[in-house]
């Protein structure tokens, strides 16, 4: 199993279309590094993106330097995945 320890999912709230296009640019700047769970759609909708641990510092700096407000929706994906596996094993037992 691939391990996602330290990967986070950031929830970004873009204020306008300009900020939305900045998020779309990020996908180009970080090919295969940013995995949009909820893609950039419209300002009223949140954008969720999984960022690998190794890219977190860069991506957060990019967001902050462009005034993009974000919150950490999932602090460590692997913790959730481990809980999911444990719940499946428990159910099977």
């Amino acid at each position: 199993q691939m391990n996602f320890t330290g990967d986070q999912v950031l929830r970004v709230l873009a204020k306008n279309d300009k900020q939305l296009s900045l998020l779309r640019d990020l996908e180009g700047l970080k090919p295969l590094k940013v995995d949009f769970w909820r893609g950039p759609a419209r300002p009223s909708l949140p954008v969720d993106m999984r960022v690998p641990y190794s890219e977190l510092k860069d991506v957060k700096e990019y967001l902050e330097s462009h005034g993009l407000a974000y919150s950490i929706m999932i602090k460590d994906i692997q913790v959730l995945l481990d809980q999911e596996r444990e719940a499946m094993a428990k159910s099977r037992r």
């Binding site: 996602f4 295969l32 769970w37 909820r38 909708l45 929706m73 999911e84 719940a87 159910s91």
Partner: protein, 310 residues
């Protein structure tokens, strides 16, 4: 392996093997109303299975429901399994569902992307696409919800094989999509199509590939509203609804656009609940509440389809 559905937990996530074993037990135990149809093979030669709920008749008007086209969205498969059980347990009790099944058939494909789903259990929990590969192409997988003919290759899809929204080399290139296309096209009497995804908490209708409203927009919008209201009453989950391109974003080559363009008027796509905490990794404790609310919306769409033949 479970030998009967009685020990199967509908409030847990399951592997592909467990789901396929459950399907066999489920069909055996409810042979009077459910049968299993294999509509094709996946890229890695796994069976693509559809449950057929029918009380008789020949080539009746029917409703198609699919879950799991994006493999990492486990909540949709789990919702599909719960919905199958709900249909057999409510037939003869819920007069609306009984009316529907006395007149129409229901087809339910629970694992629309078996290779991707198996891969989420074996190697990569966050895999989304199928597992197709082509010579000379470094990356694997096509987004099965960008591979449909209508609007293929347009905005909101990607021609980069390494992207999560890669649309594939040509329309219906993927066996998982072409199996559904062939089945629905050969059937000729599917009157509603419901494709279940996760997550954004939305109920949407065509188009994704165009901002142009469909001719039935008003009816579909009103029906979405009713369905979202029925869903809300269960656990208070507030859905937004509208066409894909105006509610969410442009997305070309999606299932419901093809269905609508193929004459299936009542074509809807669900994006299931977004609690703002887990994305599509909803904990298993939320499987049944999510399925319960989704069922009420599906039921609303089905009874409308029954009452408005076309």
């Amino acid at each position: 392996l479970e030998r009967s559905t009685s020990s199967f937990s509908y409030s847990s996530y399951h592997t592909l093997e467990e789901i396929y074993s459950w399907i066999d037990s489920f069909v055996t135990e409810h042979a009077n109303i459910v049968s299993k149809i294999q509509i094709g093979q996946s890229f890695e030669n796994r069976s693509i299975l559809v449950l057929k709920f029918s009380t008789g008749g020949f080539q009746r008007q029917a409703i198609w429901i699919d879950t799991g086209i994006h493999s990492r969205e486990w909540i949709t498969h789990a919702t599909g399994i719960w919905t199958a059980d709900k249909i057999v347990s409510e037939y003869g009790k819920d007069c609306i569902l009984t009316n529907i099944l006395d007149t129409m058939d229901i087809f339910l494909e629970i694992v629309s992307n078996p290779d991707g789903f198996a891969f989420t259990h074996s190697m990569n929990r966050l895999w989304r696409k199928n597992k197709s590969s082509r010579p000379g192409v470094a990356c694997i997988g096509v987004d099965l919800n960008r591979n449909w003919k209508s609007g293929f290759g347009g905005n909101g899809s990607n021609d980069n094989p390494c992207s999560e929204t890669y649309h594939g080399p040509y329309p219906h290139s993927e066996p998982e999509v072409s199996a559904i296309v062939k089945f629905i096209t050969d059937h000729r009497n599917i009157k509603a199509l419901i494709s279940i995804h996760s997550y954004s908490q939305m109920l949407m209708y065509p188009y994704g590939y165009s901002l142009e409203p469909v001719s039935s927009k008003e009816e579909l919008c009103n029906l979405s509203k009713s369905a979202a209201q029925a869903l809300y009453k269960v656990h208070g989950m507030q859905y937004t609804y509208g066409s894909i391109s105006t509610t969410l974003y442009m997305a070309s080559g999606v299932t419901v656009d093809w269905a609508y363009d193929s004459g299936i008027k009542y074509s809807f796509s669900f994006e299931l609940r977004d609690t703002g905490q887990y994305g599509f990794l909803l904990p298993a404790t939320q499987i049944i509440p999510t399925a319960q609310e989704t069922w009420m919306a599906i039921r609303t769409i089905m009874i409308h389809t029954l009452n408005h033949p076309y």
